[in-house]
Amino acid sequence: METEKKLLLDVDNVSLGYEGTAIWEGLSFQVRSGDYLCIVGENGSGKSTLLKSLLGLMKPMAGQIVRHGDLRRGAIGYLPQQTMAQKDFPATALEVVLSGFLSAGAGRFFYTPKEKAAALMHMGKLGILELQRKCYRELSGGQQQRVLLARALCAAGELLILDEPVTGLDPAAAQDLYRTLSYLNRKEGIAIVMVTHDIQSALQYGSAVLYAGQKQWFYGTTAEYLASPYGKRFGGGGK
């Protein structure tokens, strides 16, 4: 069963770090279609370094990260943390969503009708179709995240990489976003890799956990994580 699922990311005995100092050592895990991997851990434990490497923005010091299929040509559905400048950005929701096709249509002035149709379809799927002409800065936090999610879906249909997506959202909007991700994951088989501080939700929705500690890490299914010493501390299984 496991082997039938398409391999998307293969992290093989990788060391990551800056200027010769490794933050991650001997890291190995795989992401297959339909997986839901949550990367948890303390601040400064190297979660964003790992994310950069998965996105191909940073070379590993040792080992290799192999991206399969479409991911090879930069088609990654990435949802970065929002910046201050974005909150006040004059652009329509549709303009933002369409920019997801950037890697596909380099150097063209117009997007193709096919791309426009796909963008509108993704927006419809995420329940933001009626916002297409609204200005990004006038949307709520949850709506903004959905717009960025639709953009990520335009960029890639197989894997979404999310960096703390619920930061700054109110609890209801956060739950909505989790449910949407869960839907994309289960119904469309899109693999999800998410850096998050929200361990409860990670355990509720995720299928696997990568825990980042100081100079150590743990990778396993959510059940394995809960049984591990790291998970016992955070999982809230028993006092």
Binding site: L55, G56, L57, R73, G74, A75, I76, Y78, L79, P80, Q81, T83, M84, A85, Q86, F89, P90, A91, T92, E95, V96, L98, S99, G100, L102, S103, G105, A106, G107, R108, F109, Y111, R133, K134, C135, E138, R151, A155, I161
Partner: protein, 270 residues
């Protein structure tokens, strides 16, 4: 009306109008991504560097534009790196460079020629300063800026909105940031002798801010900024001729008036 026709019979005013319109257009286009990336003060920093370079060139008897173009381009690249890498932050790096360059210019001037009309016109602009070389330079610059905005519009949007996402999808963010900085540097050098070192950065900042108040789409903001900027310059130049006021300062005040109108318009619509 007759006065306006009369105004256009002076070749120096025609040159100033042409250069000013083209520089306003470039500055406004470049200003949109710069303002949105919180990097708008680079215009101010570069104009002071340009002033310093011009002061030194005048003191040494070199050709002012030929000296300041490379100096300002280097300064633009250094500022870009400082803003990205150093812990100082972009605003502090620009303030530091700006004050140092201005101080150097003032010292060099006071030790050599003293405050001549030349130096005064660099500070506050002069309608007499434009020659054929400036016209050629501004035409070339406009072609380059327009080409960048037409051919790479979507990438400019993407890197302005979200650098991280653009990097992840394989866009060479560094290349476009460098292009924007270099073109801004050239715009500043060409425009500052007309508008003045103290005032040229307003051409970068005002039109983008005004357009952002009233429009909701990025495409709309880019086009409106260009139209507002060219309109304000033309109105400012005419007013300066009729009222006998300095061109640079008049254009800035027209821009301010439009900005206030745009703010009021945005308030009313709510």
């Amino acid at each position: 009306m007759r006065l306006l026709l009369q105004m256009m019979t002076y070749p120096f005013i025609l040159r100033a109008a042409l250069v000013g319109i083209l520089v306003s257009l470039c500055a406004a286009l470049l200003g949109v991504p710069l303002v949105l990336k919180r990097y708008a003060m680079i215009g101010d920093g570069l104009s002071h560097v340009s002033f310093g370079a011009l002061a030194i060139a005048v003191a040494c008897g070199w050709a002012p534009v030929a000296v300041s173009i490379p100096v300002v381009i280097v300064a633009a690249l250094v500022l870009l790196r400082m803003a990205e890498r150093s812990r100082m932050g972009a605003d502090a790096a620009i303030a530091l460079t700006s004050a140092s360059a201005l101080a150097t210019g003032v010292i060099v001037t006071s030790l050599t020629t003293g405050m001549t009309t030349d130096v005064d016109s660099y500070m506050f602009g002069s309608i007499l300063a434009m020659d054929r070389g400036d016209v050629a330079l501004s035409v070339g610059l406009s072609v380059a800026v327009l080409a960048l905005f037409v051919l790479c519009y979507h990438r400019l949007f993407a890197i302005t909105f979200d650098e991280s996402f653009s990097r992840a999808t394989g866009v060479n963010v560094g290349l476009y940031s460098t292009l924007l900085s270099v073109l801004t540097a050239l715009t500043i050098v060409v425009g500052m002798r007309l508008m003045g070192a103290m005032l040229i950065s307003s051409l970068v900042i005002f039109p983008a801010l005004s357009a952002m108040r009233i429009l909701k789409s990025f495409r709309g903001v880019v086009i409106a900024a260009a139209v507002i900027s060219v309109g304000c310059f033309t109105a400012g130049l005419t007013a300066a001729y009729l009222l006998n006021t300095p061109v640079g300062a008049t254009v800035v005040l027209v821009n301010l008036a439009v900005f206030v109108l745009c703010c009021a318009g945005a308030k009313l619509r709510k």
